[in-house]
């Protein structure tokens, strides 16, 4: 479903993503690991079409993201970093808006909203405005937005960030379940999530892939592998994260 070929993104002289290639098939959950500022979000933003790559290509569902953005955007559900949402809207209003932009209306829209609400356990806050929600609910509202059109591809940027342990557990199970029928890429820096939800992990550091494989192939304990492969504190001068 996703095919990334020699992807590069440069901000000025700094290469945030430096020649990454990988592909993700339906039925896979790929955990995207790396220290802060290693290029995870930038890669995801190129897959979703928010950033244009400096060079290289991204294909989603057989379409090139740069050439036919509308087709690829329809296939993708995206949870951006920090779970941005229109805070002046209610949960229901926001999900309805997302559904309409996804081309749903009438009955189909109602069904899609109801299903997303159920999946993300939002029924109790449905009529609350988003700026009054706790971080966990806000996060799940944005996740619900990504699921609203039942996309083939899910790109989730730190989906468990800021959730309490129970919510983390629920979201991981949800990702696992979704991964059976979709291609899922999610980024995290929590290593236990890789074991809990991924079929495969990709570790990147300073914009390059340094290791990939199933959690078993990567070796154990995972955090020792992670520390060996990534250089501590990549946020050296010049690695400004845009």
């Amino acid at each position: 479903m996703i095919k990334i070929d020699n992807l590069v993104k440069a901000f000025g002289a700094k290469r945030a993503v430096d020649g990454i290639s990988f592909s993700v098939e339906r039925g896979e959950v790929v955990g995207f690991l790396g220290p802060n500022g290693s290029g995870k979000s930038t890669t995801m933003r190129m897959i979703t079409g928010y950033y244009a790559p400096t060079s290289g290509s991204v294909r989603v569902g057989g379409h090139d993201v740069a050439e036919s953005p509308m087709q690829t955007k329809r296939l993708i559900g995206y949870l951006p970093e920090n779970a941005a949402a229109y805070t002046d809207m209610t949960v229901r209003g926001f999900l309805g808006f997302a559904a309409e932009l996804r081309g749903l209306s009438g009955n189909a829209k109602g069904k899609a909203v109801a299903q997303a609400v159920e999946r993300c356990f939002l029924a109790s806050v449905l009529h609350q405005s988003i700026d009054t929600l706790s971080k966990g609910y806000r996060h799940r509202t944005c996740l619900a937005q990504a699921l609203i059109h039942d996309p083939d591809v899910l790109i989730l940027d730190e989906p468990t960030d800021g959730l309490d342990p129970n919510q983390k557990h629920e979201v991981r199970n949800l990702i696992k379940e979704l991964g059976r029928s979709k291609a899922v890429v999610f980024s995290t820096h929590i290593l236990e999530e890789v074991d809990a939800a991924c079929t495969r992990a990709i570790i990147i550091d300073r914009g390059r892939i340094v290791a990939q494989g199933t959690p078993d192939e990567l070796g154990r304990p995972l955090d020792a592998v992670f520390r060996r492969l990534t250089i501590p504190d990549t946020a050296v001068p010049g690695t400004v994260k845009k």
């Binding site: 933003r45 329809r74 951006p80 941005a84 949402a85 229109y86 002046d88 309409e100 932009l101 081309g103």
Partner: protein
Amino acid sequence: MRNIVVIAKRELGSYFGSPVAYVFLVIFLLLTGFFTFTAGQFFERGEASLGAFFGWHPWLYLVLVPAVGMRLWAEERRAGTLELLMTMPLTPWQAILGKFFASWIFIAIALGLTFPVVVTANVLGSPDNGMIFAGYLGSLFLAGAYLAVTCMTSAMTRNQVVAFILSVVACLFLILAGFNPVTDLLARWASPAFIDTVAAFSVVTHFDGFQKGVIDSRDLAYFLSVIGFSLFATSIVLRNR
């Protein structure tokens, strides 16, 4: 087209879902009332026209229209929702037009609520209602031009205050180029052709015709090109995010 409507609907909902809309409407109506009847000496003029009403609009809009438009893109940037919007299956133009039309419709509503002025003029005398209609049309295009400029400045920054100030300055330039004290100043050393060229860039010059009841295609073309150019610039700014 559908996407434009979806965006516009959300944007309008967000105006009326917050105090912004009501504060704006009240202030707008109070100020137009004050400028028309007190500062504009509507009654003392002894003529059945809305000259006292429309004459203030370029100045009134200078402050109020940027206040309406400043959040359009700056807020999206600040809240990070720009990323959400731009990864949805819609073209940047659909988002730009949806937002622009929503705020334009909002200003049209505010302008529509000034109808008591028209009623007053009609009760007290017999004004030329065609002229009044032309005045309203011109006023709407004037607001549209300011709004499009504000869209552009709003797309440049994540800070609404910066967007506001930049658009006020840009719109002020659009006024001053044809403002009499400025053209008189230029007349001391510049050739009449030069003054005319500078004045041709001004909203005041083109709004004058509408106030006199003349709907000139050149004036319409001017306002539409300011709107078109500014929205095009907005799309360029957004593309280089």
